[in-house]
């Protein structure tokens, strides 16, 4: 190896700590909480929650100093311009999404942990916060990864704690079954991805995304099939994370079995991990195989949104946990919309077009993160008194807690894409325009049909909120962290509706 011959200064790299601060802070705080758990008395476990939420906030704030410059670290020393960790605009936006999402999910968890305290479904607090922060650290590392090894490691760091989080409720059969289902299907998908990575490595001889892109342009004719198979298989693991068809069956049961804040976390951060990985491998690593993954993702998007929306439509309002199930299926449908611009990027004529399409996905994801977490927060609020959390239980919510009902109605209409959810509407418009601009007229039409299907169940739920209540209304007493989470999401959603440019600008400029 040539490295051995070089001087020590060449081997020992200087690490740009500022660039890697966001995932690092999350991970370090996670470890701190795990250790602190040993020394904190049972009465003061709430402290752990506040430390974790503060840690996530600091991690999110640490994005500020590196806002305006592209930083890279862990670069190859042989002069090739390839780095393993890059903090460009894309990375920062996704890290903001992930850490913000984890923060909101953390706020939800605080009241969930407190409520579960002393009941049969008690959650161990120290472990919970450690797992949540570790998973968030992995998810924050993923968008910065620029080589396949780091990418897979980040994917696993984000996923493995999530399995444990899903199954954390001791002695709950539903919880452990959900965790097992989630674990088995996820591990299978990751194994397939690893195989794909190995094929790609075999065909190109490198793991760095930019170098792969270069090498794939002139793959040996004999290795072409290998490279193509590798490209396709690599996508599988990420498609699983996004919960794209046919890797979506785990979603409803997992969401219902998991503690509600964890379901909220998975629905936003889990999906962010998936589509970020997809973007990195498709647009950065495999642009020359756009004719393979472009149509594949387009079909996947169409199937995913249709399957998710149709299943959500068939949810019965009286079934136990139907509110969570409905959100679960709707999140599958939303994942379909997220995939549309990525597919459109495969049809783009030049890299700038592709980056704009990617920007549409990012803009949509930001909108989705805010309103979906907000929706979960209100569902968590109602779930405190209505243990079964049926959609039917939301009847007349306006009479008991008008603000919660108005806010949930707003979130649902944002997801549906109807005014007054202006941000939802324009986020859909960017996705549509990415599809129309790429010439994917059929996909736009499929999506149009899906938007109408989705409207039906979102609006049905919204209408239920304002119906006359059945029976005596029960007053909810709302804990502070939950109020904070709902208020934060609502303020963000309303601000974005007034100034959609805040997120939509990503669909207009390059992110890489």
């Amino acid at each position: 190896m040539t490295v051995a011959a070089e001087s020590a200064a060449g081997v020992v790299q200087s690490v740009d700590w500022l660039a890697i601060a966001p995932p690092t802070i999350a991970a370090v705080v996670g470890l701190l909480v795990l250790v602190a758990d040993l020394f904190v008395g049972d009465k003061k476990k709430v402290l752990l929650g506040w430390i974790s939420v503060a840690g996530l906030a600091v991690a999110a704030l640490s994005l500020l100093p590196i806002l305006n410059d592209d930083r890279s670290t862990f670069c190859l020393t042989d002069g090739a311009n390839a780095c393993s960790y890059t903090a460009d605009r894309f990375t920062l936006v996704i890290q903001l999404l992930v850490l913000g999402g984890a923060l909101l999910a953390g706020l939800l968890s605080m009241s969930a942990l407190k409520d579960a305290n002393g009941t049969a479904g008690q959650l161990p607090e120290g472990e919970f916060w450690f797992l949540l922060l570790s998973s968030a650290a992995g998810a924050a590392l993923l968008p910065a990864s620029r080589d396949l090894a780091t990418l897979v490691v980040a994917l696993e760091v984000a996923s493995l704690p999530a399995f444990a989080l899903v199954g954390l409720r001791h002695g709950d059969k539903r919880s452990s079954e959900a965790a097992l289902k989630f674990f088995l299907s996820s591990v299978t998908a990751t194994a397939v991805t690893l195989m794909g990575v190995s094929f790609v490595y075999a065909a190109t001889g490198t793991l760095h995304l930019t170098e792969i892109a270069e090498e794939l342009r002139h793959v040996d004719g004999q290795l072409d099939t290998l490279a193509q198979t590798g490209v396709a298989l690599t996508l599988v693991g990420f498609a699983f994370k996004v919960a794209a068809v046919p890797f979506h069956f785990w979603v409803p049961d997992t969401y219902v079995g998991a503690p509600l804040p964890v379901a909220a976390y998975l629905s936003v951060v889990g999906k962010a991990v998936g589509f970020t990985g997809l973007i990195l491998v498709t647009v950065v690593a495999f642009p020359s195989y756009a004719d393979v993954w472009g149509p594949a993702l387009a079909v996947l998007a169409a199937l995913t949104m249709t399957a998710g929306n149709v299943a959500a439509l068939r949810q019965q309002a009286t079934r136990a946990y139907s509110a969570v199930r409905l959100l679960a299926w709707s999140s599958v449908g939303q994942a379909g919309y997220l995939l549309v611009p990525i597919a459109a990027a495969g049809y783009a004529d030049n890299p700038a077009e592709a980056e704009k399409a990617i920007g549409s996905t990012v803009a949509y994801a930001l909108m989705y993160a805010v309103v979906n977490l907000g929706g979960f927060a209100v569902v968590a609020l109602v779930g405190r008194t209505q243990r079964l959390n049926r959609v039917g239980d939301y009847r007349g919510l306006y009479a008991t807690s008008p603000l919660a009902a108005l806010v949930l109605g707003f979130f649902l209409l944002c997801l549906a894409g109807l005014p007054p959810g202006i941000i939802g509407l324009f986020a859909k418009v960017t996705v549509f325009s990415a599809a129309v601009g790429a010439g994917l007229g059929w996909l736009a039409v499929v999506m149009a049909a899906n938007v109408v299907i989705a409207l039906f169940y979102y609006l049905q739920w919204t209408a239920l909120l304002f119906r006359a209540p059945e029976g005596e209304p029960v007053k909810h007493r709302v804990p502070a962290p939950l109020t904070a989470a709902i208020a934060l999401a609502a303020v963000l959603g309303i601000a974005l509706s007034g100034a959609p440019q805040l997120v939509l600008r990503f669909s207009d400029t390059g992110l890489f």
């Binding site: 007054p420 324009f426 418009v429 129309v436 149009a448 109408v452």
Partner: protein
């Protein structure tokens, strides 16, 4: 007519669009001290009257300040960038085409608010009712005032949720299904429309209606125009509604509360036809040429179909609902509007715009009247009302009967009233359509549509005979039957709400030039591609 500086005009237009929204938010908040009124309900209903009244005054001042010598010029324009990423601009402005619709909307909403103040439809709290009416007003006014395609779409969608809740919460029998049908039809249409709008925007590089209209679509190839017209046309045709996409309308009207019906027929339907004139005619003329004969054919079928449906409903023993009947008559009237548009000639389009306004006034009045009748008798079923011999409204409530007869003859297009000019001009337009459209085809359409006017006259007269005429039941029919129920005649607030509509119907009938003078220059400019 009066000189108002441009910046004041801008402010006025912005106020007209945003004012109702602010009013809607204010309606949800508790009333401030000093404005509490007799009860919270009364206070919020009064709030609705005040806000819509202020908007109406603003609209009238705007109409007076409008430069009537240059109606083809966009006036009171505001142009601010809102979402640069999507190239969405807050571009507002009015010309001779949108001004009458703007004033009509402000007027009808005010009258509805006034009517509800005295006669609140039964249902949940008036707070939400007033807020929804105001959001609805803002959405419709914005539709007529915006000059950006995506903003137009936003405004177009904005009315859906309020109308849905108005029907579903304050409506009559089978309101839930009717509300669903309304929103799903319209949404399916408008999502398709969005695709068409995006196609135009992406292919031409701008969403600005004025820029697109003045280019007369040179940058859009014919095939793009054809697809765009098909997609946008479907969305607008659902809203208008055009046969065979109309089936949501009768249900929605039958179930909606009175003011809901008035606003639905009076202003919401106009959003569809306005879109045809404002977007499709100038921006995609080639595409419109391709589809004009089909549009005309569907329009004519709609005219005949609407009339025949009304005839069937008006028949004795058909259990026809009066509201449903007027809804079907709307399908016929909007058929004339579409026929006028499809001729692509100045005469036809002017006629269409005139018929638009006339329909808003007359059908709004008719829905008010039928709603009042339903409140008094408890039914709008024609057979129950008329029994064997007729409901004898002339005898029981002469003023109400007289107004109903007035509305009916105005609706059938009696010369001298508003309904006449629009339909006649639309037929004239079909007599001589734009140069490159097949004249024989349009002559045929004209002949069939003319038959439609006869059918309209037939069913309207049947309705008048069955509802207004008939013997006032003699008191000597036995003690069990006793006296005929005395019907309260027109009340003061009803007079207040209906007189403006009657007066404007007569005015527009006798002095059509007032309206045509506004629309004609603007239409000429639109059809010639911005070269006036």
């Amino acid at each position: 007519m009066i000189d108002i500086s441009e910046s004041v005009m801008q402010l006025l237009l912005a106020l007209i669009v945003v004012g109702p929204l602010i009013g809607a938010v204010a309606a949800l908040l508790p009333a401030p001290p000093g404005l509490k009124g007799k009860s919270p309900d009364q206070a919020v209903l009064r709030h609705g009257v005040i806000v819509t009244g202020a908007i109406l005054i603003a609209a009238i001042v705007l109409a007076f300040g409008f430069d009537h010598d240059n109606p083809s010029k966009m006036q009171a324009t505001t142009d601010i960038s809102w979402i640069p990423a999507l190239d969405v601009r807050i571009h507002l402005g009015i010309d001779g085409i949108s001004l009458p619709l703007l004033v009509l909307t402000a007027l009808l909403t005010f009258l509805c608010a006034l009517y509800s103040y005295f006669k609140m439809p039964s249902g949940p709290s008036p707070k939400a009712f007033v807020a929804l009416i105001l959001v609805l007003e803002s959405g419709t006014l914005a539709t007529f005032a915006v000059l950006d395609l995506l903003l137009f779409f936003l405004a177009f969608e904005m009315v859906l949720i309020p109308m849905y809740f108005l029907i579903a919460r304050w409506g009559g029998a089978e309101r839930t299904q009717a509300a669903w049908k309304f929103i799903l039809y319209t949404l399916l249409g408008s999502v398709v429309m969005l695709l068409g709008l995006l196609l135009i925007g992406l292919k031409s590089g701008t969403f600005d209606m004025v820029a697109l209209a003045t280019d007369n679509g040179p940058r859009l190839s014919t095939s793009v125009q054809v697809i765009a017209v098909l997609a946008i046309g479907i969305g607008l045709a659902v809203k208008t509604p055009m046969w065979p996409l109309h089936s949501w309308l009768p249900d929605a009207h039958t179930a909606a509360p009175t003011v809901g019906s008035v606003l639905l027929a009076g202003v919401l339907l106009k959003m569809g036809t306005y879109g045809f004139v404002r977007i499709l005619l100038p921006i995609a003329p080639d595409g419109m040429h391709t589809f004009a004969p089909y549009l005309a054919a569907f329009a004519v079928v709609g005219i005949i179909y609407g009339s025949l449906a009304c005839l069937a409903l008006a028949k004795q023993g058909a259990k026809g609902d009066l509201k449903r009947l007027i809804a079907y008559s709307s399908v016929g009237h909007m058929g004339f509007v579409l026929l006028g548009i499809s001729t692509m000639s100045p005469t036809g389009v002017n006629g269409a715009l005139f018929a638009n306004i006339a329909h808003g006034l007359i059908t709004g009045l008719l829905f008010f009247l039928v709603g009042a009748l339903k409140d008094r008798t408890g039914t709008s079923d024609l057979d129950t009302l008329a029994q064997e011999s007729g409901a004898a409204l002339y005898g029981k409530a002469p003023r109400l009967g007289g107004l109903l007869a007035f509305g009916a003859v105005a609706s059938l297009g009696l010369p001298g009233l508003a309904g006449f000019w629009g339909e006649m001009l639309a037929l004239f337009g079909a007599f001589k359509p734009a140069d490159d459209l097949s004249r024989p085809a349009f002559l045929t359409f004209m002949a069939i549509a003319a038959v439609g006017t006869l059918l309209t006259a037939a069913y309207m007269l049947i309705v008048v005979r069955r509802v207004c005429m008939g013997p006032v039941a003699p008191g000597a029919r036995g003690a069990a039957k006793t006296e005929p129920q005395a019907l309260a005649d027109v009340q003061g607030y009803e007079f207040a709400a209906w007189t403006p509509l009657v007066a404007l119907t007569v005015l527009a009938g006798l002095w059509p030039a007032a309206l045509l003078g506004l629309t004609d220059p603007a239409v000429q400019q639109l059809l010639s591609g911005g070269k006036s």
